[in-house]
Symmetry: C5
Subunit: 355 residues, 5 copies
């Protein structure tokens, strides 16, 4: 019954820790690098052709966001890692896409790994890992493939409106993380709608037999989302308590805001969870109620007609001497008797509230 | 099966953090501003026509309560926010009505966001957000629309009885929060009554098939209330531990009192929750008991009459040579035999305690 | 379906905090005040006629216990509160009998509010609130009505045996609280017996349909008791950690003892809780087992006789040409065949372990 | 339905705290006192006739273990308590056998109360309380009756092998507690076996109706064991963190070892608990599966023969004009038709996977 | 019903603590000792013939890994323990294979005990204990038998690539523990697959009656894995917080990495757990749905044919005077009537959505 599966762990096992192994399935992804170099009075947006073009931004005064797509390009990632002094374990975490969301603080930079969540065209949840490296004047982001939730940040950078160009790299990190969290709300809302749809189906009574499958699928989805979102509580609170110079005190309020959002999302997810358990319960009572109804119909029909059939059977017997058979009106009297039994039965069921 | 829904998150996503977006549905609400300016020896109650009229109270010595209704009036809220030096994120929280209850302490003021709960005409729970800004000599409150739970505070302010006019703005904040919490008790009591009603229905035996729907609805309601009330525990304890000058030590006892109330409410809600789960359990056993009873009726009738019908069938056969058919009394003897079988069956069911 | 209920909260809502409102139902209770003034060498027990008679003990050197019954006498309680410098919120808590057990430490006194539990004549749990005020040389107790669990303390005071007259007011408070907790044991034991009775009923098999109601009632009772007892853990541990001068270090060991008792009671209650859940589970399997048995009887009878009835029906048909009908012994042969079918069926059920 | 029970609490209620009341049922136990006085080079084992003989060891340099059996001998226990300066509450705890496991540190001694667990001849769990008093050079143990788990300690003392005679009284306490905990393993293992036996029964399919009773009994047993073992985690960790001179730092490692054992036992018990819940679940599905099978047999038989019986009934009617009755082969054709119906039905059930 | 079991505890009970007793079943295991002595520029791999050959490495400057297989060789283990100054309790833990994973820090060395997990040929989980002793320049490992998860570490040591030969003994310990944890991933993945297989079976509808057994087995397996993995969280965090000189600060980052892996594994296991509970729920609804379907078939057949059989029975009665019998077309009319009843029934079931 078991399917053939390829294990994504087996190939990794036994490699030296710190050996880069891309654990995802998008092996033919093109490398795509874009950079935003900006300060309050200029912005320079570029698509970089070589990973080496990204080296120059390490020590400029302007803030730079370098966004690298294509985790299958192990070599390029190793190069930029070496240039930006990233710890081998950080690089390993970047390319290991089954990484749990985490934060690691190093002397020169802070490493954060999150999950982007969005629904694909078929309404399935897609989880994509995105890693952030926050340095003095730069933020590096690493993604499996092009296409992300950061378009709104790009717009704001280009437009130069709001605070984004005047505050430093820690605000940029905040803005990017906030964009990720904003999309969690959409996912959470969609899940809430799915829960309510299931509820509506149960309330309407048009229940199909596969409802328990739907409930189970939804529960799995919820567990996946939960696992992506819950670790953020700790991550953000680690940022809040961090004594790193990279996070300015004056920008902490923004992280408090993200923290509040995460708590709110966690609340919602726990409520969905409880609702789903309740739905399963309610589904069980619905089935039981239906069975009860089926049973009642059977019992009513059988209880009425089995005795009547018995009576008919009695007078179908071939004994020589059955006096009733020969009276003139006994047939009609019997109909009357059977009708009375029928009425009595109905009355009995009425009183039992089965009708 | 899914309904069309408008997402309240999608429109917000991508805006710069700190951009004011009213997330509620009451878009045509009139702006209504009232002010209570008072000290122990005078009170001045006014309806303000322009938001600018509220600016003057920022630095007066008398205590002022400015109550602003109509969160859809983004501009006015931005103006007063700017005048009272409110952080952009605070303003964002004020107009985002799906905000989780929270507290944020700033240098000059404390921001608290709560949920007012009340039952509307149809006995549905209504949740309305109310935000408080406690400053040196003022309290600002922000609500979506007119109509709130503060009438008793207004009365006490006007009457000048009790402590309310002699104690400062932190006592006013307490009085307002206490009024919110007082209404939680009514909600909690109503929910307790609903739980007991369901219990009575179950105990009476007059159970309708939609009981599980009612239980589920009640559970959802409970979860909503829980989500509104539980965060207050942390909010109040943050106030208690706050070292802000805005909360006077001598008034802390009052906040302890609110804290006790919240703990008591939390206890009650957890008990309701447990009761509801038990009700669902009991409902399941009720259904099973009923099914059992239906089955018994069917089984008794069928078990008695099926063998008798068989006997009648035997003597309805047309074999040429069935000696019993020709004895004079065999018909009557058969009746006797069938009666004995009937009695034996009844005795069997009696012993099985089915009758 | 909803009953008419009077809300005990609605009338309270909106009153100024600190306004005394008795929230119980014993509105016509007589005021009864008794005092025990004692030191190691004398004791003076009195029934006081006026609340003013209790004022003198505030600053005497001897230890005094003043026991006030009748919380509906708001005025008298306010008077003594004023004389003994009680905070308005303390007085409010004294007369609000739906108060959760709590402790509040003030500069001059410690306020403790507990629940006395006992079974009334009908074996229903009765909860009565008792409030303690521990001062330098006095303990005030406030109860709704006469009749309490303190008779053993009175005896010991009168007898002068043991430590009670030589140790101070903090030991008196301990002795009173210990008397309350001692009664919890009786309640806990009675509940344990009830759980075991239900268990015996389930084990005996004589289950009535209303068992789930009994289980639910017991669970509600348990929740009530739990809510009364659990907060004591925190209350006692607050006393243990208190740095108030009112609690002498040398008497702390006694409070440790009460703490141990409370922990033990909490354990027991949690075990009862788990047992009750298990009972409900077991009840469900009992019902299912019974249903299974009913089904088997039905199935055995129907499976045996329906085929036989069919055979009898066949030879009751009126076709002109049914050769079997005319053989001499075919009737007797048929009986043999039917008997064989009967035996085969029995064997089948035996093998299926249905018999 | 309720049995007559004697309450062990009622008689205790109202006594002055510190009054010795033996709460067990072994009221006619003989007093038995044994002493082991030893140092690295000698051992003196004695049965003491009078409690006064035990007084001399209080201040000798050699280590002494005094083991007192017979908690009903209140007077003797009071005497030794007075001589060894034990706090009245400690004595009360020693004779109150429903005491929860606990530790109390006093200036001169440490008091520990544990539960010994063992299976009696009928495989029922027996719980006996044992109290330890660790002093400078002595350990006192108090038990309800003779017979305990300490024989291995006695052997080691007599043999003088290992460390036991060279390390002090704190090591003796450890050795005694370790003996108690060693027996927990046997109990835990027996319970594990019981869980597995139930599992085997369920897997084999030979389920009796009283299985849920067995599961419930096992769960009760588990709760009792749990209540005896779990408090030890806190007790041992209190010893580990104690700054008392009575526990030497160099012997702490031994207590760490006991702590590890307790954690391991707690783990096992929690796993048994979860297994038992799962067993109950599995039992429910087993019953449901059986019911399903019974239903299928009934449905198959009824569905096949009811229509056939109907057909036979039709041709048993006495209408004057039923043409089919008079054709020569109609009886045989009808048998063919009925056989076809029979086959069609079987095919239908086959496709439904009921056969 | 209970099987004969040999208790692995009974034989241990009563032995002096610190007495070495091998508690496993592999009593005839050969002793196998291998050593890797290395620094950055050389490596010396050897199979040692005598335990005494391992003594020399205690104080060399090069790092040495000594791997000892065969815990039944108590004497040899005692010898090396004495030479390397191991505490008697450590040696006891090494040979007690039912030891819970633990860490103990001593002055000269750190002792860690873990569980290796792997699936054997029959896809059953095998748990083998491995103990580590980390000293200044050596790591000792103790296993029950040859065959382990460390081949990848051996390869890296031999190859000399990566950091492993340049970093000290604490890095070696990390590399070994990391190899153990890497295999946990394979186990976790296999369990995930098993959960999904069960899910697929449930979704496909091809459910066998023994599914609940499979679910229960899987749950047991999960509990075993959980018990092996969960304690590691504490062990690693104890290493992280350790102030021992044996763990260099610069290598701590590697332990952080292992910690992250353990947290991720714990998450996965908790999710599997929840999924399994949900599967059991879904299985119950599947059974109920099937039962419902069986009931419907029975009810439809019985409800249609029982009334029709009654009618046929009526006209099979032998009354002298049944007028309908003598009309010419009454037989055909009756067929029409019965057909109408049949159609009406079908329509009724259609409307009830049973067809």
């Amino acid at each position: 019954m078991a399917k053939k599966r390829t294990s994504k762990y087996k190939k990794h096992v036994g490699k030296s820790p710190g050996t880069l192994t891309y654990t995802g399935y998008k092996d033919s992804q093109k490398l795509f690098i874009e950079s935003f170099d900006y300060s309050s009075d200029f912005i320079n947006e570029q698509e970089l052709q070589n990973i080496e073009d990204a080296f120059q931004y390490k020590s400029t005064d302007s803030v730079t966001w370098i966004n690298i797509n294509g985790l299958n390009h192990i070599n390029e990632i190793e190069k930029i890692g070496t240039h930006y002094n990233l710890h081998p374990l950080v690089l390993e975490d970047i390319v290991n896409i089954s990484q749990r969301p985490k934060i690691d603080e190093y002397e020169d930079y802070i490493f954060v790994s999150l999950k982007m969540l969005y629904y694909d065209a078929d309404e399935n949840i897609t989880i994509e890992q995105v890693s952030f490296v926050l340095g003095k004047n730069y933020v590096l982001t690493f993604q499996e493939s092009e296409g992300d939730v950061f378009d709104t940040v790009r717009e704001r950078l280009r437009g130069g409106k709001g605070r984004i160009r005047t505050l430093g790299s820690d605000y940029l990190l905040y803005a990017l993380m906030d964009a990720v969290v904003d999309h969690y709300y959409i996912v959470s809302e969609t899940m809430g709608n799915k829960v309510e749809d299931l509820e509506d189906i149960l309330f309407s009574g048009n229940v199909k037999d596969d409802l328990s499958q739907q409930v189970l699928s939804l529960k799995k989805e919820l567990l996946k989302v939960r696992r992506s979102i819950f670790p953020l509580r700790e991550i953000i609170s680690r940022i809040q308590k961090s004594d790193s110079d990279l996070i300015l005190k004056k920008n902490l309020q923004f992280y408090n805001d993200v923290y509040d959002h995460i708590i709110q999302l966690s609340d919602s997810i726990d409520i969905f969870r409880e609702m789903i358990w309740s739905l399963m319960d309610m589904y069980m009572t619905t089935i039981s109620n239906k069975m009860n109804e089926v049973m009642k119909v059977l019992t009513i029909i059988a209880t009425i007609f089995i005795p009547l059939t018995f009576i008919a059977g009695v007078y179908g017997m071939n004994f020589d001497n059955i006096p009733e058979l020969h009276y003139k009106n006994s047939y009609f009297i019997l109909w009357g008797v059977m009708f009375l039994i029928f009425i009595a039965m109905l009355y009995y069921f009425k009183r039992k509230k089965w009708l």
